[in-house]
C-alpha cells in the first residue's frame, strides 16, 4: 500500500462518526485525568480498558491513545497553576511553569505548553507514518531468536532503568512474566499455576492485572494521604492567553529540539516514555541556553522544550508497539494487551493485514491533537476549575468502576474476587518498592517471549548459540548486557558516594 493510499484510508477510518466519538471521549477523559493530580493516566486507561472490548478494535485503540496524549496536555496545567504535576511526565514543567504563574504569566505559560504539545505531537506523528512502514517491512525478516532478544532488551531496560533499586526492578519484571504465563501452556497444553481453578485456565485477564496494580493499589495508597488544598493563583482570562511575540520566538527552537529528543526517547523500547524525555529535553535546553541562570525562575524554554518532548515521546512510543509488537512502557503494554484481547497479534504483519488499524490510529492522533488544541483554549478556565475538586469523592467512584469493569469482561464475579486479592497483594508489593510498570510489561510479554524462546531453540535443535550467531539478536542482547553493566557500575558508584557521605 502506497503512502498516499495509506493516508487516505487513515482519514476515511478516523473520520467515521464512531471513531471521532471515541477520539473525543478519549482526549476529554485524558485531559480531565491529566489535570486532576489524584489520578494518573495509567489508572484512567486501566479503568477504561473494559469499555474497549465492547467496541471495534480501532475505535478502542483510538480512545485509549487519546487518553494517553490528552493526559500529556492536561498534566502541564496542574504543574503550571498549582505546582503539582498532574502526570509524572509534566513534573519538570513545574520548575519554570509555576514561577511564570507567580509572575502573573500563567496564561502565557498555558498557551505555550499547549502549542508546544501540539508541535511535539505533530513531529512525532510524521515520524510515525514515515518510519513505521519500512520498519515493519524490515521486521518481517526477524526470526524468533531476534524477537526474543528484542523483548529481552525491552524487559531489561524496563527493569533496570527505574529510580533506585534495579534488583527489585528485575524482580518486578520476573514476577510479571510469571503472571503472564499463568493458565494453559499453548505449546504443550499443560496447566500452569492454576491451582485447579477452572477460571484461571485462560490466564489472568489483563483488565484484572492492570486494575489491581494501577487501580486498587492506587486508590488504597491515595486515601487519607494528607492533601493541601491547591491554591489557584489568579484568574486565567482569554486575553492573558495571548502569547507575546517574544514568547513565541523564544520557544521555537526549544520546541524543535524538544520534539527531537522526545521522538528519539519515545522510539526506544523500555526507555520509560514521557518523563525521561521531558527531563532530557530540559537538560538539553539548559545546556544550550545562553542564559542558563534563568532556568527555574520562569524561562519560556524551560516549559516549551519538555512539553514538546513528552508529547512527542507519547506519540513516538507507538512506533515500536505497532510495527514490532514491542511495547516501550506500561501504557503501550496496555495498548498491546487490548490488541491481543481483540485477537490481533501485534507485530509487523499488522500494517499489511490491518492497514485501517494503523493508518486510522495515526490519523486519529492528528485529529485528537487538533481537538485538544481547540478544546484547550476556550475551556482553559474550566480545566483550571477542575483543580479545585477534592479527589476524595473520586475514590468510591473509582472502586465501583474497577468492580464493574472487571465483572463486565466475562460476567464473572470470580474476576472481581481476583482483582480484590491481587489488588491487596499489589498494594503491599508496591509499598515495598516493587514497580508496577515493568511488572505489567512482563505480564504482557510473558507468553510471547516464552513462545519465541522455545521456537528459536526448537529451530536451532537446542543450540543456544543461535542467539549470538544471528546479528540482529546478538546486537539486542549485547545492548541488554551493556545496560546491565552500566546500571551495576552506576549503582556501585552511588553506594560508594553515599558511604563516603555518611562517614
Amino acid at each position: 500500500m502506497s503512502f498516499a493510499d495509506g493516508l487516505l484510508l487513515g482519514f476515511e477510518t478516523a473520520l467515521s462518526a464512531q471513531n471521532l466519538l471515541y477520539c473525543l471521549l478519549g482526549v476529554t477523559v485524558g485531559m480531565v485525568v491529566g489535570v486532576l493530580p489524584g489520578i494518573g493516566h495509567l489508572t484512567a486507561i486501566s479503568l477504561l480498558l473494559p469499555l474497549t472490548f465492547h467496541a471495534p478494535v480501532t475505535a478502542g485503540l483510538v480512545m485509549l491513545a487519546g487518553i494517553y496524549y490528552g493526559a500529556q496536555y492536561g498534566g502541564s496545567i496542574a504543574s503550571i497553576m498549582v505546582n503539582l504535576p498532574g502526570t509524572a511526565s509534566s513534573a519538570v514543567i513545574c520548575l519554570d511553569g509555576y514561577p511564570m504563574t507567580k509572575q502573573g504569566r500563567a496564561g502565557a505559560a498555558l498557551i505555550i505548553t499547549t502549542l508546544a504539545s501540539f508541535f511535539g505531537s505533530l513531529v512525532a506523528i510524521m515520524l510515525l507514518v514515515a518510519l513505521s512502514p519500512p520498519l515493519a517491512r524490515a521486521a518481517l525478516s526477524f526470526h524468533s531468536a531476534d524477537y526474543f532478544a528484542m523483548m529481552a532488551l525491552g524487559l531489561v531496560a524496563a527493569g533496570t532503568l527505574i529510580q533506585g533499586r534495579p534488583l527489585i526492578g528485575v524482580a518486578s519484571v520476573a514476577l510479571g512474566l510469571v503472571f503472564g504465563i499463568i493458565g494453559t501452556d499453548t505449546s504443550s497444553g499443560a496447566l500452569r499455576f492454576t491451582f485447579g481453578a477452572p477460571q484461571l485456565f485462560d490466564g489472568i485477564n489483563i483488565v484484572v492485572v492492570a486494575m489491581a496494580f494501577f487501580g486498587v493499589s492506587e486508590v488504597i495508597s491515595s486515601i487519607g494521604r494528607p492533601r493541601v488544598g491547591p491554591a489557584v493563583n489568579g484568574a486565567v482570562t482569554l486575553r492573558s492567553l495571548m502569547p507575546t511575540r517574544a514568547d513565541l520566538r523564544e520557544s521555537w527552537w526549544p520546541m524543535v529540539r524538544g520534539a527531537g529528543v522526545g521522538s528519539g526517547v519515545g522510539i526506544l523500547p523500555g526507555a520509560g516514555g514521557g518523563s525521561m524525555a521531558a527531563f532530557m529535553a530540559y537538560a538539553v535546553e539548559k545546556r544550550v541556553s545562553r542564559t542558563p541562570e534563568r532556568f527555574g525562575s520562569g524561562a519560556v524554554a524551560g516549559i516549551s522544550a519538555p512539553e514538546a518532548a513528552n508529547n512527542a515521546a507519547a506519540q513516538a512510543a507507538f512506533i515500536p508497539t505497532l510495527t514490532l509488537g514491542i511495547p516501550g512502557d506500561a501504557i503501550m503494554a496496555l495498548i498491546l494487551g487490548a490488541l491481543l484481547v481483540h485477537g490481533v497479534t501485534p507485530g509487523p504483519t499488522v500494517l499489511a493485514e490491518q492497514p485501517e488499524l494503523f493508518w486510522g490510529l495515526a490519523v486519529s492522533f492528528l485529529i485528537g491533537n487538533l481537538m485538544l488544541l481547540v478544546l484547550n483554549i476556550p475551556l482553559m478556565q474550566v480545566w483550571v476549575k477542575l483543580l479545585q475538586i477534592p479527589p476524595r469523592y473520586l475514590f468510591p467512584a473509582i472502586t465501583l468502576f474497577i468492580a464493574i469493569g472487571c465483572y463486565s469482561v466475562a460476567n464473572a464475579p470470580f474476576d472481581v474476587l481476583m482483582v480484590a486479592g491481587l489488588g491487596m497483594a499489589a498494594y503491599v508489593l508496591l509499598a515495598l518498592g516493587f514497580e508496577p510498570a515493568p511488572l505489567l510489561l512482563g505480564y504482557v510479554l510473558g507468553p510471547l517471549i516464552e513462545e519465541n524462546f522455545r521456537r528459536a531453540m526448537l529451530l536451532s535443535r537446542g543450540d543456544a548459540m543461535v542467539f549470538v550467531e544471528r546479528p540482529i539478536s546478538a546486537a539486542f542482547l549485547a545492548a541488554a548486557v551493556a545496560l546491565v553493566v552500566w546500571v551495576a557500575l552506576g549503582a556501585r558508584r552511588e553506594r560508594t558516594l553515599r558511604a563516603k557521605g555518611e562517614t
Binding site: 501452556d185 495508597s221 467512584a397 465501583l400
Partner: protein, 167 residues
Amino acid sequence: MTRAQGGFGRPQPRREDAMNALLRKDLLAGLAALALGAAVVWISLDYRLGTPARMGPGMFPLALGVVLSLSGLGAALFALRSVEPAPALRVRAMLAVTGALVLFALTVERLGFIPASVILIFVSGLAETPVQWRALALLSVILAPAAYALFVVFLGIPAPAFAWGAP
C-alpha cells in the same frame, strides 16, 4: 514503632536498631521476592522440563523462579546497608476497598447490580475517616444508576438491576 519505654527513662538504641533492621523496606522487598521466587521454583518442578530443543512447560517458569529468587536475595543483601524504614500500610483503607470489591462480587448476581453498587460505595467509603455519609449517599444516588445505564443498558452487560431472592 513505639519508642522503648523502660530503662530509667533512657531510650535503648541497640535493641531498637536490631528491630528496625528486620523492618527495613528494601530487606522486606528482597525477602518477598525471594519467597515468591522459591514458590515459583517449587511449583514449576512439578511440570515437565523437557530438553533444550523441545522445552516442556516447566523450563521457562523454573528460569523465572530462579531469576526472581536471585534478584530478591541480592536486593536483601544490599539492603543490609540501607536505612529506609518499612512503609506503614494503610490497613483500614486496604480492608475497606478490597472488602467492598469482595462484597460486590458476592452480591452482584444474588441481589442485583444496583444494590451491589450501593453496598460497594458505602463499604469503600469506610476507608476515610471521618466517614462522609452524606457524600456517599449522594454518590450512590448518582453513580449506581449511571453505571447501570452505561454498562447494562448501553454496553449490554447481562446483569439485572435488582434480583431479590434470585438463586
